[in-house]
Symmetry: C2
C-alpha cells in the first residue's frame, strides 16, 4: 500500500475518482463516430461491394439497392460503415475518461474504473477498460480496478491475472498487463479465494481491497448479522482481512490487503478503523450515495492517513450540473466542459476532505 499512500501524500489529497461511465453520464458528442460520406463515396462503396464475392457484402449491396432514392441509400451505407453502436458508445467512454484523467491528474492520486460499466459492452468494453487503465497509469495515477471478483482457489488464480499479466505462452516475452495497481475482491469464499490475489500483489508490488462493509442500503441484510460471539458479520470479516494482510505490512504500517468500508456507515467505520490498525480503507459512498466528508473522516487514523475516499458520479457527472452544456456543442467543446467541471468538483472534494481532516 506504500505506493498509494505516497501518491496521496504527494498531492495532499486522499480522494480517488471513480471512472464509471454510462451512456447518461457521457455527452452524446463523444459517443458518435459519424463518418463524412458524399454521393461519390457512395458510388465507390457500391462498386467495391459489386466486385466482392463475400455473401455478407452481397447482402449489404442488396439492402442499399432496395433503399429508395440516393438519400436513403446513403443512410444505409453510412450505418454499415459506422458499425456497431455499442462499440461507438464505449469508444466514446475512452475519450470521456481521457478528458477526465487529463483534467484531474495533477490533483488526485488515483482513479477507480468500475469494470462492470465496460463489461456491459462486451469484449470491446474490456479493451476500453484496459486502455483506460493504461492511459491513467501512464499519466502517473494509481489505478484501482474495481472488479469485485471472487471464486474458489483455482479460479481465483485466473482472476488474479489482473495483477500479474494477461495469460500467454510461458516463452512469450510480450506479456500484456491489465495496467491495474490494485483490484477489489469479494471475501465470501474465505482464505482460498483471497490468497491468489494477495500472492500476486506481493509478487508485483500491488494491492488488493476486500469487501468488508459495502455502501449500499441492503448490505445490512448479510453484513450486519449478529454472530453467536456478539460480533457483527462484517466485524468478523474485518478480523479475517486484518489477518490475511498481516504478512505484507509496509513502511507506513498498512498491509497490501485493504478493505472496502462505505462512507454511509460512519460509526461502524470509526470502530473498524480501530479494529483493523494495519488495513487501509477504500471508502465509497461519498457524494451521490449520501456520505459526507465528516462521515468519511471516521475512516482515517490519527495521522490523517489510512483511507482513500471515492467519488464517481459527483466528479465525472459534474458537467451535467454546470448549466453550460448544449446539445449543439462540438465534441471538443463538450469534452472540455467535462474536464473543467470534473476538475472543479475534484478540487472541491479535496478541499472538503482537507478541511474535515485538519
Amino acid at each position: 500500500m506504500d505506493r498509494l499512500i505516497e501518491a496521496i501524500e504527494a498531492k495532499d489529497n486522499p480522494s480517488i475518482v471513480g471512472l464509471d461511465p454510462t451512456q447518461a453520464l457521457v455527452p452524446s458528442q463523444a459517443c458518435t463516430m459519424e463518418i463524412e460520406f458524399n454521393e461519390k463515396d457512395l458510388e465507390s462503396f457500391i462498386e467495391g461491394l459489386e466486385r466482392s464475392s463475400n455473401p455478407e457484402d452481397q447482402r449489404i449491396l442488396a439492402s442499399i439497392n432496395n433503399a429508395d432514392g440516393t438519400d436513403a441509400k446513403m443512410k444505409v451505407a453510412k450505418k454499415v460503415l459506422e458499425g456497431d453502436s455499442g462499440a461507438q458508445i464505449v469508444m466514446g467512454f475512452y475519450e470521456f475518461n481521457r478528458a477526465i484523467i487529463d483534467a484531474v491528474k495533477d490533483i488526485v492520486p488515483a482513479v477507480k474504473p468500475q469494470i462492470a460499466m465496460y463489461e456491459a459492452y462486451g469484449s470491446i468494453g474490456f479493451d476500453i477498460y484496459r486502455l483506460t487503465c493504461e492511459y491513467a497509469q501512464k499519466q502517473g495515477l494509481y489505478v484501482l480496478g474495481d472488479i469485485k471478483r471472487g471464486d474458489i482457489g483455482s479460479t481465483a488464480a485466473a482472476y488474479a491475472k489482473h495483477l500479474t499479466q494477461i495469460n500467454s505462452r510461458e516463452d512469450d516475452v510480450n506479456g500484456r498487463p491489465w495496467y491495474e495497481d490494485a483490484v477489489t475482491v469479494n471475501p465470501y469464499f474465505g482464505t482460498d479465494g483471497i490468497t491468489p490475489f494477495t500472492d500476486a500483489a506481493k509478487q508485483t508490488d500491488k494491492d488488493v481491497f476486500a469487501l468488508v462493509r459495502t455502501s449500499n442500503p441492503s448490505s445490512k441484510e448479510i453484513q450486519e448479522l449478529e454472530l453467536a460471539d456478539g460480533d457483527k458479520l462484517y466485524e468478523h470479516v474485518a478480523d479475517l482481512v486484518e489477518g490475511w494482510g498481516a504478512d505484507s505490512i509496509g513502511k507506513y504500517g498498512y498491509s497490501r490487503l485493504g478493505a472496502v468500508v462505505g462512507a454511509t456507515h460512519p460509526e461502524q467505520g470509526r470502530e473498524l478503523r480501530e479494529r483493523m490498525p494495519h488495513t487501509f480503507f477504500l471508502v465509497p459512498g461519498y457524494g451521490a450515495q449520501g456520505g459526507t466528508s465528516a462521515d468519511a473522516t471516521q475512516m482515517f487514523d490519527k495521522n490523517g492517513r489510512g483511507a482513500i475516499v471515492n467519488s464517481s458520479r459527483g466528479i465525472i457527472g459534474a458537467w451535467k450540473k454546470s448549466g453550460e452544456y448544449r446539445e449543439d456543442m462540438a465534441k471538443e467543446e463538450a469534452l472540455d466542459l467535462v474536464g473543467r467541471s470534473a476538475r472543479a468538483a475534484a478540487i472541491a472534494m479535496r478541499d472538503d476532505l482537507r478541511k474535515a481532516l485538519h
Copy 2:
C-alpha cells in the same frame, strides 16, 4: 428454471459439464496456429514489408534482416505472422470446447463455462467465452455462465446485461446477446445486488444462481459462522435466497433464483434441500474436488429433481487419463480423443448419478 428442468428430464441426466479450460487441460495441438511458410512465402513477405511505409513494418523488416540465414529469417517471420501467443491458446480453447460440446450434446442437458478462465486471456478471452456460449446454445444446450458477479444495485444492473443483451444504442436493432441462459451471482450485497439479475431473468425467461454454500475448503470461515439466532450464516443466506425467488416459481415448483451448494457438504445439502423447497441447486464439487454421487443425491428432492451436478476437470480432462494421448498426434486426432474421453466420462457420471438416485 422450467427450461433447465425439462432439459434434464429429456436426457434423464441431472449433470452439467464445466467448460473451464486451462493450458494444462487442453492438448497443445489445439493451441497452435502454426502457419505453412516456405522460402517463396518469405520472399513475398519481405517484399511487402519493403513496400510499406508503416514504422512497425520497418521494425519487423529489420529484425528479419538481422536474423542469420534463411531458417532463422523464416522463424522470425513465422512468429510475427502467428501473432500473440495468448490469443492462440484461448482460440484453442474454442476448438477444445467445441470438441467437448459435440461429443456430449446428446447426453448432457447443460454446460457451465467459467468466465475467469477466459478473462485471464484479456478481451479476446471474452470473445471466446461468448463464442463458446453461442456454440453450446446453438447445439441445444442450456448455458450457465459461471460469472459470480456481485455489486451495488446500479453496478449489478450493468452486470445483469449478461442476461439481456450487450449494451448498444436504444435504436440499434442488432443487439448482441452473451448467449447465457443463467448466471451465478454473489449474495454479499443483499437484495439490491440481486434484484437487477432476477429482474433481467424474469424479463428474458432465464435464471440466476446465488452462492449459498461453496465447495472450497476455506468457505467455512465465513459461511459456517454461527449467528446469534442459532443459524449458520449460509442458512440465513439460504432463507434470503428462497425469499428473493418467491415471486418467480415455475410449473415444477422451483423459482428462477437457484443456489450454489457444494457436493463437498452432503449433510448441509440435505438440510438445505428441506429448508429451500422452491430453490433449485447447482452442485459443484463432484469428482475432482472429492464429492461423490451419494453426496450429490442429498441435494435432490423426493422426486429426484431439484439439482444439477457439475463436473469440470473430470470430464474435460478425461483425455489425459486415457493413456492414448501422444504428443505427435495430429490436431484432429487429439481433439477426437478429447471428445471420446469426455463422452465416456459424461456417460459414466450420468450412470453414476442415475444409479445413486434410483
